[in-house]
């Protein structure tokens, strides 16, 4: 096990010394789920304005990789270098409070990140008409749109998205693809794990199947609940 100081890269600002300091650079990364290495040797670089779509069958380790990148769990080996405080994560759970309204939910995350733009975020995700409705009374797709609108009020450049389009209808997927495109045009970076086609033709695609760790390959289908 190579000890890897994720926050050390942030705080000492080592990434800033190199060319392309704003990039997300992942080098021979290995990640583990439940103590078992699922992916190894994953390397890629994401520069401002680029999107990367992660693909792979259920259980290959897409979520594990994204959680590792978000700093929620340590890597087994390899390095991740990102600019400090630049990354935000959106997973299956939207982090919404059922008793708060759409607007209150967004205002909370905006205040946490110290940025504004709540009204703009609601407009972009087509939520303005629902602003006073409590999250408990939203449909699954509307909740998802609210969860994705949260990305817009974080002010972070790198979006790490885990299956962002679950329960969205075709129109909402197109709406979200437009939001992602606008974010990329503004110098943002997007990393998406998804099974469906978002219609982002400019995005690079990384199939994770070749990076499957050998131990995991033996116990195929070990725990698909975490896919």
């Amino acid at each position: 096990m190579v000890p890897q100081d994720f926050h050390g890269v942030f705080s000492r600002g080592m990434a800033w010394d190199r060319a392309g300091a704003m990039d997300l650079v992942v080098d021979t990364l290995a990640v583990a789920r439940g103590g078992l290495t699922v992916l190894e040797g994953v390397s890629f670089t994401l520069a401002p304005g680029q999107a990367l779509v992660l693909r792979g069958p259920n259980g290959v380790g897409k979520t594990t990789l994204l959680r590792t990148l978000a700093g929620l769990q340590p890597a087994v080996s390899g390095t991740i270098s990102v600019p400090p405080e630049s990354l935000t994560y959106a997973a299956h759970a939207d982090g919404l409070k059922a008793v708060l309204t759409v607007e209150e939910n967004l205002q909370f995350w905006a205040a946490i990140h110290g940025v504004g733009g709540v009204a703009d975020a609601m407009a972009q995700m087509n939520l303005s008409d629902l602003r006073a409705r409590r999250a408990a009374n939203l449909s699954a797709g509307q909740k998802r749109r609210l969860g994705l609108a949260r990305l817009l009020v974080t002010g972070r450049a790198i979006w790490v998205l885990d299956e962002p389009t679950v329960s969205l209808d075709a129109a909402s997927v197109a709406l979200f693809a437009g939001v992602v495109r606008a974010h990329l045009a503004g110098g943002g970076m997007v990393l998406i794990a998804t099974h469906i086609d978002l219609g982002l033709d400019e995005a690079q695609v990384l199939d994770l199947t070749p990076f499957k760790a050998r131990v995991a390959a033996l116990s195929d289908g070990f725990d698909e609940a975490f896919a």
Partner: protein, 218 residues
């Protein structure tokens, strides 16, 4: 951090938020104990400090598992962990919100319930002082217990078992302050020890709880 505190308070006061749960429990204890023990004023006055403190402690215990479990279930905790606020700050703010919703109302309500238990006249001041000094420790220690069990489904029982032994010193010194205060004895030593426990818990446990959360979020 202010936003997190305001959100937690707002959630607590809205429907199903759990505000009043601890207070109602405290009220029930104070009302039911005289009915169970019998109405002799001398007996009640003797057990009042202990009963009031045990009631306050158990009332605090009731809502502990909600501190982090709800945020863990809906994914907010993951998002807070990747937000600009350090996890230590998240723990401290959430423990403070828990105290504002549980410990503070208990402290305010305790003198009224002291009447039901025939607490001696000079004990009321020390009841309020000891609860004000001791309940913050209950919330912070509870937040630590809740952080340890955050991934466990229905972790309430486990939190209680983990936290109860840690609550014992607070209970002993808290009840001792009231007992001595009610009889007009010197309260300085138990009160200082009680305040010391609170200060120590507030200073160290947010860091321990944040470390526990980091492990549980993996």
């Amino acid at each position: 951090m202010m936003a997190l505190l305001l959100r937690d308070l707002r959630l607590a006061f809205r429907a199903g938020g759990g505000f009043g749960l601890g207070l109602a429990f405290f009220l029930l204890v104070a009302v039911l104990v005289p009915l169970g023990v019998g109405p002799e004023p001398a007996t009640l006055a003797k057990i009042a400090p202990g009963i009031l403190w045990v009631g306050a402690l158990l009332a605090c215990l009731l809502s502990l598992d909600r501190i982090f479990a709800l945020d863990f279930e809906d994914g907010s905790l993951d998002l807070l962990a990747t937000s600009p606020i350090p996890l230590e700050g998240v723990v401290a703010v959430k423990a403070f919100a828990h105290w504002l919703v549980t410990g503070l109302p208990l402290t305010v309500a305790a003198p009224v319930l002291g009447v039901l238990l025939n607490l001696a006249g000079q004990g009321y001041l020390w009841l309020v002082v000891s609860l004000a000094a001791g309940t913050p420790a209950l919330s912070v220690i509870g937040a630590f217990g809740a952080a340890l069990t955050v991934g466990v489904k229905r972790g309430g029982l486990l939190v209680s078992l983990l936290v109860l032994p840690l609550y014992v010193p607070t209970l002993i010194f808290g009840a001792e302050v009231v007992k001595r205060g009610a009889t007009g004895a010197e309260v300085q030593v138990p009160l200082l020890l009680l305040a010391g426990i609170t200060a120590g818990a507030v200073a160290f446990l947010p860091f321990a709880a944040a470390a526990a959360l980091r492990v549980n979020l993996r």
